[in-house]
Symmetry: C2
Subunit: 348 residues, 2 copies
């Protein structure tokens, strides 16, 4: 089959790779209907994270189940399924605690499953899922094709934006600042709106992203960053700051901006993969600003968000502004790298 | 009157200072019945925090109201009152948000009140309280002298231990680790017990403190620290870690130990004044460990904790293991510095 392999900086290739095969009994093979490129895929693409040897890439997909192992009980051949951006058993103590990204038996896509099998990367034609019952969520029926983009966001960006909002304790009437206008930041705006935030300030300097942020519920746009951005946010919020700040970038600068935008007693929910250095505790301590979040346990959120996506009430798929065939995966990366697209959907 | 002045490293003196006088209408003058020495007073005493010029010191006291300003409405002359370790108006937006340590009009004891008056340090005979209605809580009647130590803990250490527990979301059935066996750490054990924790592991290497921790509800004592301490905690908690970790020290090492003791998705509630360098985000991010806390807003906790202290259900005063006359304040500092006492109560 064809799948995407990253070789190094700005070098991703669609290549012939071995077809996946069932091996452990609890696994399934899924034909990918749609995959996409994540902001975090750009770290190795840009060389910020080194690629020591070529490896499979991609961690977001939806698809149709083609084969299941003998022990699979909740997933059936033919099901349309959403996979989270990681494999998990959904039964271990960490999964039960709601932190399935720390699953004791979990596997990252594109790596060995420590049971003798391989979990394929998502930017390919098929993926072997080690823990099918734990990881996959089937839709009640085959969804309309128009719903595919929104369903695909449940694999990562919508769940991750929701995690930022939940981690920051966004609730009815909250004032919210969202730092970051990538797909996750935009989904964080949508998640905040859904949870009842009364004021949502989106930090964005790009007209196309500002437009989506407005559609998703942003009440204010601030097109400044750093100290200037903080000053403008404080001006909008009576000099006190926001109840909740959603950090969706991951740099040291964005984290410091997020912390300074929170009010005393406020909470920063952060989901941006940290790429900066360590942070000072004093600015948190002195003002009782909390820091909560991490690798989003999106598996647990699919059940909560799926009905609203299926009903059309929630349309996070709007973050995809470019769709390409899988054969053009290299162009998909380039378009995101050069900010010509917010997020690119790939169809095998 | 007599009050304590710190001159520099290991140099505190009881001196004649001007009597406090009413000046703003909303103020009160309180005769101190009991004060004490805080772990944080040891930072300047030990020279860790420099003392550039002599200044008044002490921030924990209970006492009897002697005079009130014309605008004071809830506090009366003759009331026995508990003061938090800071002055606050209890009406500004930050106070209403439960973060009275960030009061927009707040004053630290031992400093000018920015209204032309002075807020005395607590280790003295009398204290002028700038915002009497906001800061002071009167007991319903004159308390028995035996209750004075426990009432005094509501000024800081019991409220601060409670803040650590609340910030870490301790609730019925939580597993808790408390890092730090000073008065605040011990009160954090008591607060966790009160909030329903099922397992409380106290990190302590001192027999006297271990005994108090046991009395306060610790189910396990770990007399190791650093990586060894973490390994022992993980062994006690099935290799997963604690739901809640209460950091009551403030060094970089204690914070790292606290973070490593939390389970994935767990929360570190920290109240130790940060004296270490910056901390890495990755160990928090990868395991979804949150960080919450700061300068404890104890004013808001007095109302909740006071009835249990008055009824005798809660006995945090047990942390005082030495009582001295105010005249021996220098010896009080020395006893705490040399760990001859957990916490010293001073009687003017």
């Amino acid at each position: 089959m064809l799948a995407t392999v990253i070789y190094g900086e700005r070098d991703v290739r669609l290549e012939e790779v071995p077809d996946p095969v069932l091996s452990t009994g609890g696994d399934a093979i899924v034909r990918v209907v749609a995959a996409c490129v994540c902001g975090s895929d750009l770290w190795p693409y840009r060389g910020v994270a080194p690629t020591n040897e070529p490896h499979r890439i991609g961690h977001e997909f939806v698809g149709i189940v083609e084969q299941i192992g003998a022990e699979v009980s909740t997933i059936k051949v033919g099901d349309f399924v959403i996979a989270p951006f990681y494999d998990c058993d959904n039964t271990c103590v960490n999964c039960r605690n709601g932190v399935s990204t720390s699953c004791l038996n979990g596997v990252w896509w594109g790596s060995d499953d420590r049971m003798g099998g391989f979990a394929d990367g998502a930017q390919g034609e098929r993926v072997r899922v080690p823990h099918a019952d734990g990881s996959l969520v089937a839709t009640p029926e085959q969804p309309d094709d128009a719903l595919v983009p929104s369903l695909l966001t449940l694999a990562d960006v919508m769940g991750t934006g929701h995690h930022a909002a939940v981690s920051a304790s966004v609730t009815q009437g909250s004032t919210v600042v969202v730092v970051g206008d990538g797909a996750v930041g935009l989904c964080a705006v949508l998640a905040s709106k859904r949870l009842g935030a009364s004021r949502i300030i989106a930090m964005s300097r790009h007209a196309d992203r500002q437009a989506v942020a407005r559609e998703f519920g942003a009440t204010d746009i601030v097109d400044l960053r750093g100290d200037e951005g903080v000053a403008r946010v404080q001006e909008l919020l009576d000099g006190i700051g926001a109840d909740c700040v959603l950090e969706c970038v991951g740099t040291k600068e964005s984290m410091e901006q997020a912390i300074a935008s929170a009010r005393p007693g406020g909470m920063v929910g952060y989901v941006g993969v940290p790429t900066g250095g360590p942070i000072e505790i004093r600015p948190l301590f002195g003002r009782n600003v909390g820091l909560n979040g991490g690798v989003a346990s999106v598996r647990g959120y699919v059940d909560e968000l799926l009905p609203e996506v299926l009903s059309g009430a929630l349309n996070p798929g709007r973050v995809f502004d470019l769709e390409l065939p899988l054969a053009e995966v290299a162009e998909a990366y380039a378009a995101m790298d050069e900010r010509r697209a917010i997020k690119v959907l790939l169809r095998p």
